[in-house]
């Protein structure tokens, strides 16, 4: 998880953890806060007069005689050498400082890993906010009143929703889309109406002094607190790898419940102003609901397609490719807002449609940039909201009403629990894998409230009489759920032992077999005359391949997921070899141990060139333009963690090594040149070592040319980028040759020797390495680079279908 974090913060963190204790860190925070506060007071810093003293500006007394003045304008102002002009920069400055402060807080609590493990980030942010709020309250400062309706809805919410939409795991989502929408829409409605009604009932009780809250306002309040924001829970779920169904339902529910809540909020705010509500209005409300939802969907689709289409032509303006993504999503959001349609739905749909096509059209770097920026923006928004929540908790005036607030808490939990139970019972028969009680409990328990709830209640219009009470109640429920449920969810998940899913399924076997099963199921569904998920999926994929991809993706090469996964795995193996190459002396021991297996060997210099070429062979066989698919990760606070790919690297490397070792002792079965079968021990070959040294180096040049023509850029591959022009790769490899070792399969030297053997027809070469020799052979056999390696070629789209569909 820390792999992508900046080196500087790591160094700073180390410094901090070694030298400073926790209290000193707090002191640093206070210092920062103090600095911030000094600049916060709005308006107390006026423009410092640039003149040294006040009297200089006094006009010379007017002579009554009216004689001509020597200097008609005696206001001589000196050139200001040093001046401060605070009011000009005030707003951006304060925003920057707040954002920085919140980000410092984030750096701070990631220093201790245990802290973020047990306490979700949102809790920590709120705590820091509370502290800052306390300070501000102590010095009688007001927090900047930046959180207005427009600012929240136009600037803070879109990045958060874009993040959720962009990183939504599409396949599980579409498989469970019915359940997700069911829980989100019906669940939120159930919660709002239930809680609203109950609270209204409670309001009738005179003792609580809340009789002036009418039904509409109760409903409004209830709808606000039904918005679920289970970020903390999702983090835990991801760490623990709970079963996919539960995960995607919680994730999707949060997203769509936000959408539903916003719609309800707008509706009820409107209704709250009306003195009387008639049945017509109820029906209109329902109709509006559908219009809003479906309209958002439609808008999102349109913008998503337009964005994909645009990126088809952006290959010459790569620097601004990410811009299109953001602009189109934001545009979708704004246009939906224009028509009062659910903007959240619009931006989510836009992101979902866009992602698939855009990531194919756009370069790898732009892809990374997009993902990174989306995460960054959403992280900022979320951080700010929670931080602000903490601050506001202390600094606003609260209206405390024990009864109302306690009843709110009670009803919120009650209705959520009931809702989950009832809804699950209804939808379980329609699911392939029904939810058991543990799943249901987890579903209910993950109903944390968060950012959207807070923002919505904070921006309630002022004509709501008991706004302060609502704010207090909301803050209460947010704090309660975030702290208590957020902290306890981790031990609970372990305790209850929810069904887990194994995420580490990146093997070709699984992919191939799963595909086969999907095909089988689609066929069986067809036989049974049943239109299940796989039928629609199949149909959609056909439509996608035949029509959509041709329009929206430039140089359309339909790539099966099996091939994509295979490429990805081979690439990882090759990258691992590269990693070990550049690790320098650390790999020397392993090389030595390998040597010991085969017997006493030669000085290390030999390994270098030969191994390097071996590595070249592997790379040139297996590396080609690869599109890394979006890893699906959903936490708002971190980028994906690739640790499990390391395991695959090691496994595959071991496999290659083993298979090479094995085949070196088998009789060769490959065509393409006769290789004698007797395995060669290198013990008896010391005399020719010197002659072999020079040859590999020559060979290296040929290979680099060959591989560069294949379009391999090793530098970029190392950083996870896609292969580009090979020029840079060349130099990188050559420069690293002096200090690189490869813990190569012991047959490396054999391959180099056999390679010469074939080129220079040296008959003494007898090593049989069939597998590696094949790899080395191919570049030499063909003159034109386009056919030099079958895997490097992109498959041509055959116009003739080979067999019946």
């Amino acid at each position: 998880m820390r792999g992508i974090s900046h080196p500087t913060s790591g160094a700073v963190g180390e410094f901090f953890s070694k030298r400073l204790s926790m209290t000193m860190k707090l002191a640093v925070y206070f210092l920062t806060t103090g600095l911030t506060l000094l600049t916060l007071p709005c308006g107390s810093f006026t423009e410092v007069p640039s003149k040294p003293s006040g009297t200089v500006t006094v006009l010379p007394p007017v002579h009554p005689a009216g004689g001509p003045q020597a200097f008609p304008n005696a206001e001589k102002s000196d050139l200001p050498v040093f001046a401060m002009n605070y009011s000009r920069i005030q707003v951006p400055f304060e925003i920057t400082l707040w954002v920085l402060l919140a980000s410092f807080a984030k750096i701070g609590f990631h220093i201790y890993h245990k802290v973020t493990f047990w306490v979700p980030e949102s809790c920590l942010l709120i705590s820091i906010g509370l502290m800052v709020g306390a300070i501000m309250h102590a010095v009688h400062e007001e927090p900047p009143s930046v959180l207005s309706y427009n600012i929240f809805f136009l600037y803070i919410l879109p990045p958060m929703v874009l993040d959720s939409g962009y990183f939504m795991p599409t396949r599980p989502f579409f498989e469970n889309i019915g359940t997700v929408l069911w829980f989100a829409v019906v669940g939120t409605l159930w919660n709002s109406i239930g809680v609203g009604m109950s609270l209204y009932g409670v309001c009738q009780i005179g003792a609580l002094e809340v009789q002036d809250i009418n039904l509409q306002e109760n409903l409004l309040f209830a709808s606000i607190i039904s918005a679920v924001d289970p970020v903390a829970v999702l983090n835990v779920f991801e760490d623990v790898s709970v079963n996919e169904q539960l995960y995607i339902v919680v994730f999707g529910e949060s997203l769509f419940s936000d959408a539903v809540t916003v719609v309800l909020y707008n509706m009820f705010t409107f209704v709250a102003e009306m003195p009387v509500v008639e049945t017509v209005d109820v029906f209109l409300g329902v109709a509006k609901f559908f219009v809003v939802g479906l309209g958002g969907l439609a808008f999102g689709l349109v913008f998503g397609f337009v964005a994909s289409f645009t990126t088809r032509f952006t290959s010459n303006v790569r620097e601004i490719e990410p811009l299109f993504i953001f602009m189109y999503s934001y545009l979708a959001y704004l246009v939906a807002e224009l028509f009062n349609i659910s903007s959240i739905m619009a931006i989510v749909t836009c992101a979902l449609t866009m992602k698939y096509y855009v990531e194919e059209n756009v370069t790898q770097r732009s892809c990374t940039t997009i993902r990174h920026v989306v995460k960054m923006l959403s992280s900022i928004s979320e951080t700010l909201i929670f931080f602000f929540l903490g601050v506001v908790t202390i600094t606003t005036e609260h209206e405390w009403n024990w009864g109302y607030i306690l009843f709110t808490l009670l009803f919120a939990f009650l209705w959520r629990g009931l809702g989950i139970l009832v809804l699950t019972q209804i939808i379980n028969p329609f699911r392939t894998i029904p939810f058991n009680f543990k799943d249901q409990f987890m579903l209910g328990y993950s109903g944390l409230r968060g950012a959207v709830t807070f923002a919505l209640v904070f921006t309630l219009p002022d004509h709501i009489v008991r706004k302060k009470l609502f704010v207090t109640a909301t803050i209460c429920i947010i704090l309660f759920t975030v702290f208590i449920q957020g902290i306890s969810i981790r031990p609970l998940v372990e305790f209850i032992n929810v069904r887990r899913t194994n995420r580490n399924l990146d093997t070709i076997n699984v992919e191939v077999h799963s595909r086969l099963m999907e095909h089988a199921i689609a066929g069986i569904e067809d036989i049974c005359g049943q239109w299940g998920h796989y039928y629609w999926k199949d149909k959609f994929m056909k439509f996608n391949n035949q029509i959509l991809r041709k329009i929206l993706i430039k140089d359309n090469q339909a790539e099966s997921s099996i091939v994509a996964l295979y490429k990805k795995l081979e690439l990882q193996n090759a990258m691992e070899i590269l990693d070990t190459v550049s690790e320098g002396t650390s790999t020397a021991p392993s090389v030595i141990s390998l040597r010991k297996e085969k017997g006493p060997g030669k000085p290390k210099r030999k390994f270098v060139a030969a191994d390097l070429r071996k590595m070249h062979d592997i790379l040139s066989k297996n590396m080609y333009k690869i599109r890394q698919q979006t890893t699906e990760y959903t936490t708002k606070h971190s980028l994906p963690n690739d640790s499990h790919t390391k395991e695959i690297l090691i496994r595959r490397h071991g496999t290659i090594r083993r298979s090479l070792r094995l085949r070196s002792f088998q009789s060769p079965t490959l065509s393409g040149g006769g290789y004698p079968s007797a395995p060669r021990s290198r013990i008896g070959q010391p005399s020719r070592s010197s002659s072999r040294v020079s040859l590999p180096l020559r060979r290296l040049d040929t290979l680099t040319e060959v591989s560069s023509s294949a379009g391999v850029d090793l530098v970029d591959e190392r950083s996870g980028g896609r292969g580009r022009a090979g020029g840079r790769g060349k130099s990188r490899l050559n420069s690293s040759s002096s200090d690189s070792r490869v813990p190569a399969p012991p047959c490396h030297f054999d391959s180099s020797e056999v390679f010469h053997g074939n080129r220079d027809s040296m008959p003494e070469q007898e090593e049989p390495l069939s597998l590696s020799v094949t790899w080395a052979e191919e570049p030499s056999d063909h003159d034109d680079s386009s056919t030099q390696n079958p895997l490097l070629r992109r498959p041509r789209w055959n116009p003739v279908k080979p067999k019946n569909p």
């Binding site: 399924l505 799963s514 086969l516 005359g529 091939v563 079958p790 498959p795």
Partner: protein
Amino acid sequence: MGSTNSTLSKIPNVEELMRETGFSPAHIVRLYDRFESLDKEKTGHLRPEDFGAINRQDTVDFHSFVRILAHFRPAENNRPRDPSLPEPVNSRISKLKFAFQLYDLDKDGKISRAELLQVLRSMMEMQVTEEQLESIADRTIQEADLDRDDAISFEEFRKSLEKVNIDHKMSIRFLR
């Protein structure tokens, strides 16, 4: 759909079928109706032309039809199984066996490289070249093949899929 009883009486050995496959009478009737609608010529058998050659056998009668479909019922894990009874048709092992049979065309208990290639070819159609297919097949066998015989036995197949939720992938909802 007609009355259940009258349709059921038309099917020979229907109780044994129900017991073996675990389908309820309503399901059997529904499947029978579907069978009849597929069997356009009312021969009592389905031939490959009827549904595009999914089966390897030349004809399928209703019993086989139901038996094959029974593999796709979602597995029930709740009932403790009586060990003396034969393995239910829709258990995880049976589903895996069914999937294995889709590959193993010559029924020798192993998926050879050629069989794997054939399946890969038919799945990926025109999207890949022959060499790519071969590399993928090589890798697949390499990953799964633990005893190094260049073929995937049922045990190896099962092991490679041990972490996959087969029940989810090989079940159709309505067949419950």
